[in-house]
């Protein structure tokens, strides 16, 4: 599932050119690594623009020490789970480089849509001479679910979000020196920054050497925050749109326990995402929570691996069951979502092999049935098990005793927002455009 991570860091004031920013970008990207593991880019701007795009995990793609030699005091970072994904570089009329999460509805695929967006931005800046107004105009006119960071030849950094606020974007500050924009607050935390606020929906924030300005589109529709961010995409320590992801996941677990209770000896979450769901379920049901699995090797986000093979590999290395936690027990097994069901079946089988008795599978989100129009790469419908099978049938296939999803109402309740303020397209299909 492609939900890139984007990051921009901008120094101000006396000695701003003294900052070596490359490793700030590196560590910020590390904290967004869960958003993309196939391509990573570090862009720095000082006397010159440096765009370093590499394949693979940030830690593999970049040598943390060698980064010290990349000059530049303004930095932008980008991560994607598509290995051919890279920042968009436009050379005229206005030279700029742009990274984006989600997708403006300007083309068939992310890459071409973002290229079109960046070209429009360059043209519009050239036409109006005001990059802030130009960017706001684009946000006003271009539909989609997206956020972006662009760096222009004039050392201006523009960061903006679509009108509905579908994709997240958060602002941070460090001391008297640095400002930053990132997909998630986890990046700000890891950089030791204070989280300040979210970029508003339909808002563009501009950093230039002497000021920060922000401007919003005139007519704001209701927000439609991506609910999948809270279910799976975001890191649990992140706070998006003022809503802490961890608390939402705890509540999802609690609501799940109320909606579909089960009798069991222990509640186990599939690492890492579903552990807070399990804690929530445990709290609401009074059933013990256990750590059920240990991860081997690198932490790899399995749902965003490109091939089935790699995905399975990730899951298997990720999920070695702790025998003494499951042997002889009735288990409530919680996962964040179900795509093909392959990994879930594998997991259920593994638990039974280690002595688990009954396994009640609970999913912390509604059935995933539709593709995402904004580039979150959900497999085609005929590969979505929830699209073709009922809960009872899925239980049978994965070998579970019972199987239930969270309701859409439960999801909305956990988020503390009405369904009308959420993007629910992957569960319910295209409602708004």
């Amino acid at each position: 599932m492609n939900t890139p991570g984007i990051l921009g860091i901008y120094p101000f004031g006396l000695g701003r050119e003294n900052w070596r920013i490359s490793r700030f970008v590196y560590y910020g990207l590390l904290a967004l690594q869960h958003r993309g593991q196939e391509a990573s880019s570090i862009i720095t701007l000082g006397d010159d623009l440096h765009v370093e795009s590499r394949r693979g995990l940030v830690e593999d793609a970049f040598n943390e020490k060698a980064l010290l030699s990349i000059p530049g005091f303004i930095g932008v970072g980008f991560l994607s789970s598509a290995s051919n994904d890279s920042p968009i570089v436009i050379s005229s009329p206005i030279r700029l480089v742009l990274v984006g999460d989600g997708m403006p509805l300007l083309g068939k695929d992310r890459q071409s849509a973002w290229r079109a967006f960046a070209e429009l931005l360059s043209d519009e800046i050239s036409r109006t001479g005001n990059s802030l107004k130009a960017a706001v105009k684009l946000v006003e006119e271009v539909n989609g679910g997206y956020s972006f960071i662009a760096l222009t030849e004039d050392q201006e950094m523009l960061a903006g979000r679509d009108k509905y606020g579908i994709k997240p974007l958060e602002i941070g500050s460090l001391g008297f020196d640095l400002g930053a924009i990132a997909s998630e607050t986890s990046a700000l935390d890891v950089l030791g920054m204070d989280h300040v606020l979210s970029v508003g929906r339909g808002e563009v924030v501009r950093f230039d050497p002497y000021s920060i300005e922000r401007m919003r589109v005139r007519e704001l529709p209701n927000p439609a925050y991506c609910s999948f961010e809270y279910v799976y995409l975001a890191r649990p320590d992140s706070i998006l749109n003022g809503i802490p992801v961890y608390s939402v996941r705890i509540r999802m677990g609690e609501i799940l326990a109320k909606e579909t209770p089960a009798t069991a000896d222990t509640v186990i979450g599939i690492p890492e995402t579903a552990i807070p769901f399990a804690i929530g379920y445990s709290r609401a049901s009074g059933i013990n929570v256990d750590l059920g699995f240990v991860t081997t090797g690198r932490r790899v986000r399995t749902a965003i691996k490109p091939s089935v093979f790699e995905r399975l590999m990730g899951v298997q290395l990720k999920l070695n069951p702790i025998k003494s936690a499951v042997n002889g027990k009735d288990i409530i097994l919680i996962d964040d979502s179900v795509v093909r069901g392959t990994t879930l079946r594998n997991t259920v089988w593994n638990l039974k092999r280690r002595g688990a008795r009954r396994i009640h599978v609970r999913i912390g989100s509604p059935p995933l049935k539709f593709s995402c129009p904004f580039g979150v790469e959900i497999p085609p419908p005929d590969e979505l098990i929830a699209r073709s099978l009922s809960e009872e049938e899925i239980a049978e296939v994965v070998g579970a005793d019972t199987f239930s999803f969270l309701s859409v109402n439960g999801l909305s309740q956990a988020l503390g927002l009405p369904p009308s303020n959420l993007c629910l397209r992957c569960w319910l299909g295209g409602v708004k455009s």
């Binding site: 298997q316 002595g355 009954r358 073709s388 296939v397």
Partner: protein
């Protein structure tokens, strides 16, 4: 009374001993390929004769029976069955304890056995596929994730019973080791195809069966064509080495518990197991129109899918399992043989003494997979010592030369039996015996055996395993999903591999 036995292993040694115990005081005649020192001694003691011959040569064996004027023939191993020794002997008018050729197909062709089971819908089935060539099999196995789930974890077997050789279990569930496993599977299937070339009696070469896990046990029975009488359960240990490590062997040792059961098998499971064997006997008789006279055994496993599950069938006693049960048999075996011949087993009371037994095999290094290394070594045995330690010795793959010297035959050389109140105690007794080195190869070549068989540690591990499996199959039972397998494949949807298999089988018919 004259009884002739066929076959030269430890099982046959035990058979000969049991026959010798009979109140009928039979003269015992024997034919095998190597001169088994133990059987030879018994034969000689009863005034019988011992001949060396190809036990697959039905004419030659029947000739000997006729020549010796024996009253009945008892077949020990499977190959004589496959080659119609019982058929030929009976054709010559001599009753035979041994499955006829057409009946022994349930052992000879693992594929036929399984097809029969599916056709008659007998419980304890496994999914399977057969292939005539390795390349054909490969097509199915190399598509990792687009193929049916069960094909990821399989047992690769020769489609025909091939001396207990060539079975590999490949659980390809660590996808990161898939390359190695795949390569290994390929190489093994290529080997299987080649290896099977030497058996002209079967078309299918390779059997791919779904891999299951759970504790194994053997249920051996007497059959008279009408009635199946079960004996005490035995657990055989197929792995060559300590800790259940290493290649599959004919069996490195076995033990029995008390009350016909094993510490990890319940009475209900025993009952289900014997129902399976009975049903299989009925089915094969139904298909062939023949009456089954002799021994039959189900090599069983408790699986999560169905509980008692048939892994393979023997058209004979197991080896070493036969040694365990014959040692406990209290009823006169010759009476039993006569009852089988007369098809009146139902009326007979067959008794076993309620004690635990353990058998451990000693094999020359090289067994099972490098037999040429294991063959031809001179053997020294201190039988007195073994007896003193309260154990009994059964000769296996050994040849008694005319000069009185004994050499190894390449397979399991000797089996040592102990009887006690628990397997652990019996095992411990054998350990004490073996620690005194009663058996040696005089040229210094090594022997190996498994110290763990029957030990308290082993049994508690089996019990734990059985509990895990029982939990799962009981649970299926409760939900009515015993034997059910449901798959869902992206782009394809819901798949029922059982239905697919049945369709394929009916299409084949």
């Amino acid at each position: 009374m004259k009884i002739m036995g066929v076959g030269g292993g430890a099982r046959e040694h035990a058979l000969a001993e049991a026959i010798a115990r009979s109140a009928h005081s039979p003269e015992i005649y024997w034919v095998s390929e190597l001169r088994n020192p133990g059987i030879y001694k018994i034969v000689k003691a009863t005034g019988g004769e011992y001949a060396l011959a190809d036990t697959k040569d039905a004419g030659r064996i029947a000739d000997l029976a006729v020549k010796w004027h024996v009253d009945m023939v008892v077949v020990g191993p499977e190959e004589p069955n496959f080659h119609g020794i019982p058929d030929e002997v009976e054709r010559r008018g001599i009753p035979c304890i041994g499955a006829k050729r057409s009946l022994s197909i349930i052992e000879m062709s693992k594929a036929e056995m399984r097809r029969l089971q599916w056709k008659y819908n007998i419980p304890g089935k496994l999914l399977f596929k057969t292939y005539q060539s390795y390349s054909e099999a490969l097509r199915d196995l190399e598509r990792y994730s687009e193929t049916l789930t069960w094909l990821q974890n399989v047992a690769l077997k020769p489609a025909r019973q091939a001396g207990g050789k060539g079975v590999k279990v490949v659980e390809d569930s660590q996808i990161y080791l898939h390359a190695e496993k795949q390569e290994f599977k390929e190489r093994h299937m290529r080997w299987l195809e080649e290896y099977m070339e030497k058996y002209s009696d079967i078309e299918e070469k390779i059997l791919v069966e779904e891999k299951v896990w759970g504790p194994e046990y053997t249920l051996q029975c007497f059959v008279d064509g009408r009635t199946v009488v079960g004996m005490p359960l035995v657990q055989d240990n197929k792995h060559a080495h300590e800790f259940d490590i290493g290649p599959e062997t004919g069996g490195m040792g076995s033990y029995t518990g008390r009350d016909f059961l094993l510490p990890f098998i319940t009475e209900e499971e025993y009952k289900r197991s014997i129902e399976i064997v009975e049903a299989m006997v009925k089915a094969i008789q139904d298909v062939t129109g023949e009456h089954y006279h002799g021994f039959i055994a189900g090599q069983m496993m408790l699986t999560e899918i169905e509980g008692p599950t048939l892994i393979e069938m023997y058209s004979r006693l197991g080896d070493p399992e036969g040694v365990n049960v014959l040692a406990l048999l209290k009823t006169d075996i010759v009476d039993i043989f006569e009852a089988i011949i007369d098809e009146r087993l139902a009326k007979m009371k067959i008794e076993f003494s309620d004690e635990a037994t353990v058998v451990k095999s000693l094999a020359p290094k090289g067994y099972p997979d490098f037999r040429s290394l294991a063959k031809g070594h001179p053997v020294y045995v201190n039988e007195t010592l073994i007896k003193e330690k309260g154990c009994k010795l059964y000769w296996g793959s050994a040849h008694l030369g005319l000069d009185g010297s004994i050499t190894t035959g390449g397979s399991r050389l000797i089996e040592i039996l102990a009887i006690d109140e628990s397997p652990a105690k019996a095992s411990q007794r054998i350990e004490e015996c073996i620690s005194l080195n009663p058996v040696k190869l005089l040229d210094g070549w090594g022997l190996f055996y498994r110290s763990d068989i029957g030990s308290a540690e082993m049994i508690s591990r089996r019990v734990e395993l059985a509990e895990r499996v029982r939990r799962l199959y009981k649970y299926r039972e409760e939900r009515g999903t015993l034997g059910k397998r449901i798959d869902w494949l992206p782009k394809i949807g819901r798949v029922d591999p059982v239905a697919s298999l049945l369709k394929e089988l009916s299409f084949r018919r």
